[in-house]
């Protein structure tokens, strides 16, 4: 995603000339964004559906060789796969509206259950790694901008390129090499013991850390945190490097804006100029591009989850892909498409709160 980040429109958007009449700008903005969400998700789910049909008959792919042709035909009729493709497409779309993403072939799970159980794991991983990414990206990006072209900047830029250049599974491998000699857990979301105990938490959120808190055993909380550390660092470094560069380049651009000079000219302290004027404005494009990073995070989660055997959506998806269970794949990919669409809408809403030009 570096291309996106580097070639992204830089600087705040132009202010529109104000015209009277019509909807309030905020309403209009949110309506447009919400309206755009529908075709985006539609294009994505249609694409998923078509690609899955191009692959061929899912039942044949998953169970071919294990069942007799008659049994396969029977299973096909059962799943409705012998009907015209348009009918299937219609069923698929209407199913989505009811929240029905289908059922897996190989182990007969509802995809919506996968969302609840594995989605929670991915959410947890995304949360921890975003935490790491913010902690790295924002302060270091500010340092780099402040010392532009001097030693700290050069080192930080090199650091950012290096964490970008290292695939997340290679970083994972290095972390495992470094930490396993000390017996640090480097796979799974918790020890077997903890995992079994937390199955009985009521209500079970499937978000391990929340479950551990609900159970109330500090040892288990510690265990969960220990397990989350390495995957969070691996994925967080990758995203954090991108954030670092985003913050740096946008700060450099806002620092040369007239309003920054104007604030200095009215005697505002340098610290305040940096925090209130340059940084706040730099956030607008940063938030927009961070929205695009969510997709990167999900893509990276597949690799991170496989590396650390973190049983999230990505891990599950990889498993089904290897088993050639394309009904499961279709369901999970559709789910991810919807998550991507909704996240980008939420990012647009956040942008509206950061940038008053969108609101008024």
């Amino acid at each position: 995603m570096t291309t996106a980040e580097i070639m992204a429109p830089t600087g705040p958007p132009e202010a529109e000339p104000r015209r009277r009449g019509g909807l309030s700008p905020l309403t209009r903005y949110l309506l447009v964004r919400a309206a755009l969400l529908v075709p985006t998700v539609w294009v994505l789910v249609t694409m998923v559906f078509l690609l899955m049909r191009v692959i061929g008959d899912p039942i044949q792919a998953a169970l071919g060789g294990r069942l007799s042709p008659e049994q396969i035909a029977e299973r096909k009729a059962e799943a409705g796969l012998d009907r015209p493709i348009l009918t299937q497409y219609w069923e698929y779309l209407t199913g989505l509206f009811r929240g029905d993403f289908g059922t897996t072939l190989t182990d007969n799970r509802k995809v919506s259950t996968i969302l609840v159980e594995n989605g929670a794991a991915t959410l947890e991983l995304a949360f921890w790694s975003l935490l790491v990414a913010f902690a790295i990206g924002i302060p270091l990006g500010r340092v780099a901008a402040r010392y532009r072209d001097r030693f700290p900047d050069v080192m930080l830029r090199l650091f950012a390129i290096l964490v970008y250049a290292a695939p997340v599974f290679f970083v994972g491998l290095l972390l495992k090499l470094a930490f396993s000699p000390f017996g640090w857990p480097s796979s799974g979301r918790a020890s077997i013991n903890t995992e079994l105990t937390l199955q009985d938490v009521d209500p079970q959120t499937h978000i391990m850390i929340v479950d551990a808190f609900l159970w109330g055993d500090p040892a288990m909380i510690g265990d969960v945190l220990k397990h989350a550390m390495l995957p969070a660092i691996a994925l967080g470094l990758l995203t954090g490097g991108v954030f670092l560069r985003l913050v740096r380049v946008n700060l450099l651009q806002t620092m040369r804006m007239d309003y920054v000079t104007a604030a200095r000219a009215r005697g505002v302290s340098e610290r305040r100029v940096l925090n209130k004027h340059a940084f706040r404005n730099a956030l607008v494009p940063v938030v927009t591009v961070m929205g695009l990073q969510i997709a990167l995070l999900l893509g990276g989660a597949i690799l991170t989850e496989t590396t650390f055997e973190w049983k999230g959506l990505g891990y599950q998806l990889a498993e089904y892909l290897i088993k050639r269970d394309f009904l499961a794949v279709q369901g999970i990919v559709t789910l991810i498409a919807i998550i991507v669409g909704v996240t980008s809408f939420l990012i647009d809403v956040i942008v509206a709160f950061v940038d008053p030009r969108v609101r008024f």
Partner: protein, 887 residues
């Protein structure tokens, strides 16, 4: 790209410097090493990538630590790690090259066409590409890889499948970048001018758009290459890459090495991992350095004008002074300081030097002047005179690349060399600034009240509530309507004039001793300018503030200044009381400058021409622009009828947003009318498609406002002028060359200019070239849209002179669009005045500008400051309250 690569690389290296060059060269070196390894893999690798025994049949053994026989050890499958890494390089390079080339071949034309044509095709493509783009790229690649890997296990099939899966991911990226660049380029005036002469779409796409957009391709190409490697490795890692028996692949090896990590076996994973990191590092270093070098936004700017502009002004300076040495200062004021004079701020021998990429630039060489309480000192000069730089040096607001020498004293305190901490309390409190562009001087994400309060709290201990009350008072003082309400407005909710009032309110918030106003009205319309100048004068009366007014506008000087300092190339050439300077300028440069300023209301302007041949007939024209979702349509031109006859110049004047430019664009078919008709030389041209219009294109020429963007930067001057001839006539190359030379001579540029490129020319020279191009087909009608408003006055005078001479000789009809009434007054036979899309008044020049009938025209004319202090004072008294209610 490939064709230019030979020249491109050395050029880029030469343009880089320092650290950037180091990073670029390091990146190139890394890539070169990997390319070498990829090409010579079979000779470099000790064994085949899948071999698990030597040629003699000796088995390597599994997971052997690095040794002399196996430098990088062996894998869990018993193969040689070094050989796998080397063959993996080959696989990676093949896939990347294929992927980058394929996605470019598909994405670039799609982006070009989509961006250029727009409409529903563009919308659909954008929707699909954005959806693809938002989707996790690796996931997409996996799905495509599964679709493609229909049993193909050959090396080529596998590599092709991997490349195509990656291509699908990258097409949207090329598409987006190229489409956005195309949209940015297609509204450039040089594209419009190609359309005006009837250049066909494929040629426009190739010659004008692609050649300018393609500069971003090396950047996207290299950055995509690094992403391609990561995607390929990710595919391999997850087991969806190339069939392991067909080729060695780093990601696959890393996957196999993962279980080893927990048992301390490091060599199976670390070496392929490092290979990935290094090659991505190389490609990213090259891509980022290219972006740094090619992206003008990140470049260190020296001064704002090009050296060609300064050279042009210098040339004129030498002509009038007969001397290159500008330091001869003529001072009319007594050199010995007046003992009774109390000075608020004084500059003595101020010097500013910038360290730029191109070496040292002396922006200011010894500037001396002072300003007393209640006095307005105007500092005037053309581009590159150093007037703005001097004003910023006073408060220490120059970038760190500037070195400042001399002395600046405020009262009796020396400001230069003061630490940031001691200077900060002075900024805004004792000396404050008003900036040129109010829309960029206000921070868009805070309310205006917040920004005023911030300034107050920086200097006084004042509660938030009191500060807010004071902010409302200040807004009221600067004439902001409804200040209790507007204090909570964001800057973009205010008009340009209101924003400048806010900037002024901030400047006076702490009742400073000195206000430095840097071109405070340049960005504003003339009636708003008059109101803002009025405000500044009244504040001076009330607060007794000293004002340093930086401006290039002699009318503003005559209106406001008590004393004037004339600057040229960092030197003061003359300083004198205002009336004295205008009445009897001593320095030849000052004289030339004053002569060059057009003066509204001169007696001997052009009269009516007696010709009946109608060239342009605009009848009941309406042009509307559809509003965006939820907004009403915007009517830019509202039932306007105009006529221009042969040999006649019609001056079309109005303030910004009056619709005057839209009329010009509609008249040459760059914009379709909503209703009404346009005829040129008796032919109906409104409602025609581009194709139907093409035969009539030779009838009109167009000169655009911005000399910087009206010529295609990738075409030589000769090619620019020849383009209409190639498109519209059957002339041979020889005839075209001869015609180009004669056109260049007619605009007083030698034939040698044909070989040069636009960036080598000054703004004035470029406008001459634009004029030559517009006249190349001997048009009946010339439309000139603010052709001189971006030029310095002395340059403007020369271009206008040339224009008038050509117009008399060639007798074309001309629609001359301008906001500057004084310019129109020097060359128009008739004048039309527009306001809010409506035609207010039209008639002979001396009648409309000399004896206007309509209220709006009267106001407009009264607002123009004339470059003569005595006359201007009379006008100011006469106009009375005509201008009071303008914000």
């Amino acid at each position: 790209m490939a064709v230019n690569a030979k020249r491109f690389v050395p050029t880029i290296v030469r343009q880089s410097h320092g650290l950037q060059r180091f990073m670029l060269l390091l990146g190139f070196a890394i890539i070169a090493v990997f390319l070498f390894i990829a090409i010579f893999a079979p000779w470099l690798a000790p064994y085949d990538f899948n071999a698990d025994r030597t040629a003699d049949g000796v088995v390597f053994g599994t997971q052997q630590a690095p040794s002399a026989a196996h430098w990088f050890g062996t894998t869990v499958g018993g193969t040689d790690v070094l050989s796998r890494v080397i063959f993996g390089t080959r696989t990676a390079v093949e896939v990347i090259l294929l992927a980058v080339v394929l996605s470019g071949i598909i994405g670039v034309p799609l982006g070009l066409v989509s961006g250029f044509l727009g409409g529903w095709l563009d919308r659909i493509l954008v929707l699909i590409m954005d959806a693809l783009y938002a989707f996790p790229s690796l996931l997409l690649a996996i799905v495509v890889a599964i679709v493609l890997s229909g049993g193909s296990s050959s090396a080529f099939g596998g590599i092709m499948a991997a490349a195509i899966s990656i291509t699908v991911v990258f097409i949207p990226q090329y598409f987006r970048v190229i489409r956005n660049a195309t949209i940015a380029v297609k509204v450039e005036p040089y594209v419009d001018s190609a359309r005006v002469v009837g250049v066909r779409t494929p040629r426009i796409l190739r010659k004008h758009i692609f050649s300018n957009v393609s500069s971003s391709l090396p950047v996207i190409g290299t950055l995509n290459a690094s992403e391609a490697i990561l995607t390929l490795a990710g595919l391999g890692f997850l087991g969806f890459g190339i069939e392991p028996s067909a080729a060695a692949e780093w990601g696959y090896d890393l996957n196999k090495a993962m279980p080893d990590a927990s048992s301390g076996i490091w060599w199976t994973g670390v070496f392929p991992g490092l290979a990935i990191v290094l090659i991505v590092l190389g490609a990213t270093l090259v891509g980022e350095s290219l972006n740094d070098i090619l992206n003008p936004l990140l470049r260190n700017r020296g001064t704002d004008t090009t050296s060609a502009d300064e050279a042009e002004i210098a040339h004129q300076f030498e002509e009038v002074t007969g001397d290159e040495d500008a330091s001869v200062e003529v001072r009319t004021a007594p050199v010995a300081p007046d003992p009774k004079r109390v000075v608020a701020l004084s500059l003595t021998n101020l010097e500013v030097t910038f360290q730029t990429d191109g070496g040292q630039v002396h922006a200011v060489n010894g500037v001396t002047f002072d300003v007393a309480p209640g006095e307005v000192v105007a500092v005037v000069g053309e581009s590159g005179s150093g007037k703005s730089v001097s004003s910023r040096a006073i408060l220490g607001l120059l970038p760190s690349s500037a070195e400042v020498g001399g002395s600046v004293t405020l009262g009796n305190r020396e400001l230069l060399g003061m630490s940031e901490d001691t200077l900060r309390p002075i900024r805004g409190d004792q000396v404050s600034m008003v900036f040129q562009e109010p829309s960029t001087a206000l921070n868009p994400v805070y309310t205006v009240g917040w920004q005023i309060i911030e300034g107050l709290q920086a200097h006084t201990k004042i509660s938030k509530k009191d500060a807010r009350k004071r902010a409302v008072e200040l807004l009221e003082m600067v004439g902001m309507p409804d200040p209790e309400h507007r204090v909570d407005y964001y800057p973009h909710q205010l008009s340009g004039g209101q924003k400048q009032r806010v900037v002024i309110a901030m400047a006076i918030a702490c009742e400073p001793d000195v206000i430095i106003a840097d071109e405070p009205t340049t960005a504003l319309d003339v009636t708003v300018q008059a109101a803002i100048l009025e405000l500044l004068l009244s504040l001076r009366e009330r607060l007794g503030t000293a004002i340093v007014l930086i401006t290039h506008n002699m009318g503003v000087v005559a209106d406001m200044a008590d004393r004037v300092v004339v600057m040229y190339r960092g030197n003061v050439v003359e300083s004198a009381p205002s009336r004295e300077l205008f009445a009897s300028p001593k320095h030849p440069y000052t004289r030339a400058l004053l002569d060059a300023v057009p003066h509204l209301g001169r007696e001997n302007g052009p009269g009516l021409v007696d010709a009946n041949e109608l060239v342009l007939k605009v009848d009941d024209l309406v042009v509307e622009f559809p509003g965006r979702f939820g907004q009403p349509t915007f009517r830019a031109v509202d039932h306007v009828s105009l006529e221009v006859r042969k040999g006649e110049v019609l001056g079309l004047v109005g303030e910004s947003g009056s619709g005057k430019s839209t009329i010009g664009r509609t008249a040459v078919g760059l914009q379709q009318p909503t209703s009404g008709t346009i005829d040129v030389s008796g032919n109906r041209i409104s409602g025609l498609s581009d194709r139907e219009l093409r035969p009539y294109r030779s009838r009109f020429g167009f000169v655009f406002q911005d000399p910087a963007s009206s010529l295609n930067p990738r075409m030589s001057i000769g090619q620019c002028i020849a383009e209409p001839l190639h498109v519209q006539t059957e002339m041979t190359q020889k005839e075209v060359d001869a015609k180009v030379r004669s056109l260049l001579e007619s605009v007083e540029l030698g034939g040698s200019y044909a070989e040069r490129f636009p960036h080598e020319l000054s703004g004035g020279q470029r406008q001459r070239v634009s004029l030559a191009r517009a006249l190349s087909l001997d048009p009946d009608l010339l439309i000139a849209d603010e052709p001189t408003s971006a030029l310095d006055v002395s340059v403007q005078a020369r271009v206008l002179e040339l224009f008038t001479e050509l117009q008399h000789r060639l007798q074309f009809a001309c629609l001359f669009i301008s906001h500057d009434l004084a310019v129109v007054d020097t060359l128009a036979n008739r004048v039309a005045v527009m306001q809010d899309g409506k035609l207010v008044e039209v008639g002979p020049r001396e009648q409309v500008l000399g004896n206007p009938q309509e209220e709006y025209t009267k106001r407009l004319i009264a607002a123009v400051p004339v470059p003569d202090p005595v006359e201007q004072q009379r006008r100011r008294e006469e106009r009375g309250h005509l201008l009071t209610d303008i914000s």
